[in-house]
């Protein structure tokens, strides 16, 4: 039981140490990486089953009871996120091995990648606000390194933006921690949820907003998202895929966790979050349709879709949160696979700029299918996963009579569809064109890359098929979030 909870953090860390010790033996590093991540996937899946059946599992690090020590808490939401994250990490590392490039050129790739995995898992599992900060730092430091691997001029430039903005977020997080501890004398989330309620209302909402800003930077909501589209597209495509699928969602997870757990209903800034959600989805999609590069279009869509997740949170209802959870599940898989497709496009054509692409559908029909399915899903076309997720949010929004955000979400769907057709019409339709140059490292295995991508696309189709049970699961997770008591009791029980 304990192993299931700590495994997804510790196994990748051990793997990281081992991969580093194995230094220059690339095959050995690969084996370590694959084994560690596959183990994490299995452990996370078992954990999800266990948590869904038997309730929340809390593990005390060092045996110290909450609120003294750090408690790792696996509830349904955390377990769901963990399963998705580890699966994405595994799929993408397979892709990265196929692609070569960053994976092959840098001794530290696997180590840093595994550290990233551990950081993400830690962020999902921790039940302590400061430990969440540390987990974020682990994840972020690894992401800085992955983003700048190679040190190309554009990477350095975008790396600066990314690192500096992330550091500001970290500094703000520390400010929030200082304030939290000053006001409550505790750091355990469960303990905080009882203590925050005793604070004066103004202080409480100040804290709520500060935390929204802190995690809003990470999750790229309006008006804090600008850094994302500038920095993501420059990384090697597997790295971008992981970032796109996971990192912002860790921010969203933290938003959901803190806003639902720490604050009583009268402090929850629902109206504000709904306004932010609308602006995020609209401004994000407007950015997307202005772009000329596949990766940049997709990056702006990340922003736009964060808006949908925040919409679910902003409703602060079981239906809304269930919709948000379902949306996250769908989004992580689809977004990751789309960025992997972007990488395949680059590998085939030497570029991801729309003006320099044409006719891929005829020369690479499989690639066209691999793009079309997740793209339609992203645009919320039935019967793909994006439709069910969007429908859940729409339904929740109508149920809460939040008309503005409902209207925005529908309008944004159309613009999303438009920008997907922009990629399709420019890159896939038209007369085929000779590849400009190959960005694929020598010895790259395109079949492995396509295989990993196809696996994720299949997974997204599976999500669509299993939407019914998944919605039930999301609803149970949302019920726990709204109720709060199970979490608090699981952590604080003697």
């Amino acid at each position: 039981m304990t192993g299931l909870v700590v495994g997804p953090i510790l196994v990748p860390l051990l793997g990281a140490a081992l991969a580093m010790a194995l230094g220059r033996s690339r095959p050995a590093q690969r084996v370590v990486s694959l084994v560690a991540l596959a183990t994490s996937v299995v452990l996370s899946a078992l954990l999800l089953v266990r948590v869904d059946d038997g309730g929340i599992v809390a593990v005390r690090a060092g045996g110290w009871p909450a609120p003294i020590g750090i408690t790792l808490v696996a509830d349904r939401l955390a377990a769901i996120m963990l399963v998705l994250a580890t699966t994405m990490l595994l799929a993408v590392v397979v892709y990265a091995i196929g692609q070569g490039g960053a994976e092959r050129d840098h001794v530290g790739f696997h180590t840093v990648y595994l550290i990233l995995a551990a950081g993400v898992a830690g962020a999902f599992l921790t039940g302590d606000l400061f430990n969440l900060f540390v987990a974020f730092e682990v994840m972020l430091m690894a992401s800085y390194v992955l983003l700048t691997l190679g040190g190309r001029p554009d990477q350095v430039r975008s790396g600066m933006t990314y690192v500096v903005i992330s550091l500001l977020a970290s500094a703000l997080f520390l400010v929030a921690l200082a304030f939290v501890y000053a006001a409550t004398g505790t750091l355990s989330l469960a303990d905080l949820s009882t203590k925050v309620a005793e604070l004066p209302a103004g202080v409480r909402s100040g804290l709520a907003l500060l935390l929204i800003v802190v995690f809003g930077i990470k999750s790229a909501i309006f008006p804090l998202f600008f850094w994302l589209p500038d920095s993501y597209p420059t990384a090697p495509s597997p790295v971008t895929a992981v970032f796109a699928g996971l990192l912002t969602k860790v921010g969203v997870y933290a938003l959901i966790r803190t806003q639902t757990l720490l604050f009583p209903a009268d402090t929850q800034p629902g109206a504000l979050l709904l306004a932010v959600a609308s602006l995020t989805m609209v401004v994000g999609v407007l950015g997307a349709i202005s772009q000329h590069d596949v990766k940049r279009i997709l990056s702006f869509h990340i922003v736009s879709q964060i808006g949908y997740m925040v919409m679910g949170l902003g409703l602060f209802t079981v239906a809304g949160l269930a919709g948000a959870v379902l949306y996250i599940v769908h989004h992580i898989v689809v977004k990751t696979s789309l960025f992997l497709v972007a990488g395949l496009i680059e590998a085939r054509s030497g570029t991801a700029e729309l003006d320099r692409l044409s006719g891929l559908a005829r020369v690479e029909p499989l690639l066209a299918a691999l793009f079309l399915l997740p793209a339609l899903s992203l645009a919320g076309i039935p019967p793909f996963s994006g439709f069910v997720a969007k429908l859940a949010l729409l339904d929740a929004g109508v149920g809460a009579e939040a008309w503005a955000v409902v209207a925005a979400s529908l309008a944004v769907s159309l613009l999303t569809l438009y920008s997907m057709t922009k990629i399709w019409a420019n890159a896939f339709w038209g007369p085929p064109r000779e590849p400009e140059s190959s960005v694929v490292a020598v010895g790259a295995d395109r079949r492995l890359m396509a295989g990993a991508t196809a696996g994720l696309v299949a997974l997204s189709l599976g999500i669509a098929v299993a939407s019914g049970p998944l919605y039930d699961l999301a609803e149970r997770a949302a019920t726990d979030l709204v109720d709060r008591r199970p979490y608090i009791e699981a952590v604080l029980e003697p």
Binding site: T2, V6, A17, M20, R60, G62, G63
Partner: protein
Amino acid sequence: MRYRRSVIFDATVTLVFDGALVLSAYLLFAGHNQPGGGFVGGLVAAGAIALHYVAGGGDQVRSLLGVQPWTLLSIGLALAVGTAVVPVLFGANPLDQEAYQVELLVLGKAKATTALVFDAGVYLVVVGLMLMILEGLGLASDEPLDDGEVER
């Protein structure tokens, strides 16, 4: 590159270096009861290495410990993570500590805890990081370029 050095200067550096290493070891072991700990210990050792670099230039540091910074980092990380993993394997909580009475020949009885192993990991990582910084920003940047970039 070779600097002209005086024997006295070298001797001083060596002396300080040795002293700092001893101090860092003391800080590591004393940390649980006195000010100190793995961090401070590691930082002091790292400072000593940095001093050696400043005094002696790049070549000295490269072979100073006869060990790659990679190795230090990986061993350090493995030690720290190991203290978290091992208790779990025995069905306890991660990072559970055990205390042992240890007979030390000179210092008498002491209580050693598994926290020391953890702290040693921290120590190694800090030292390894400093070595890496010196290797990277100090040494590597003195080497010639080969990728066609213009040296500025």
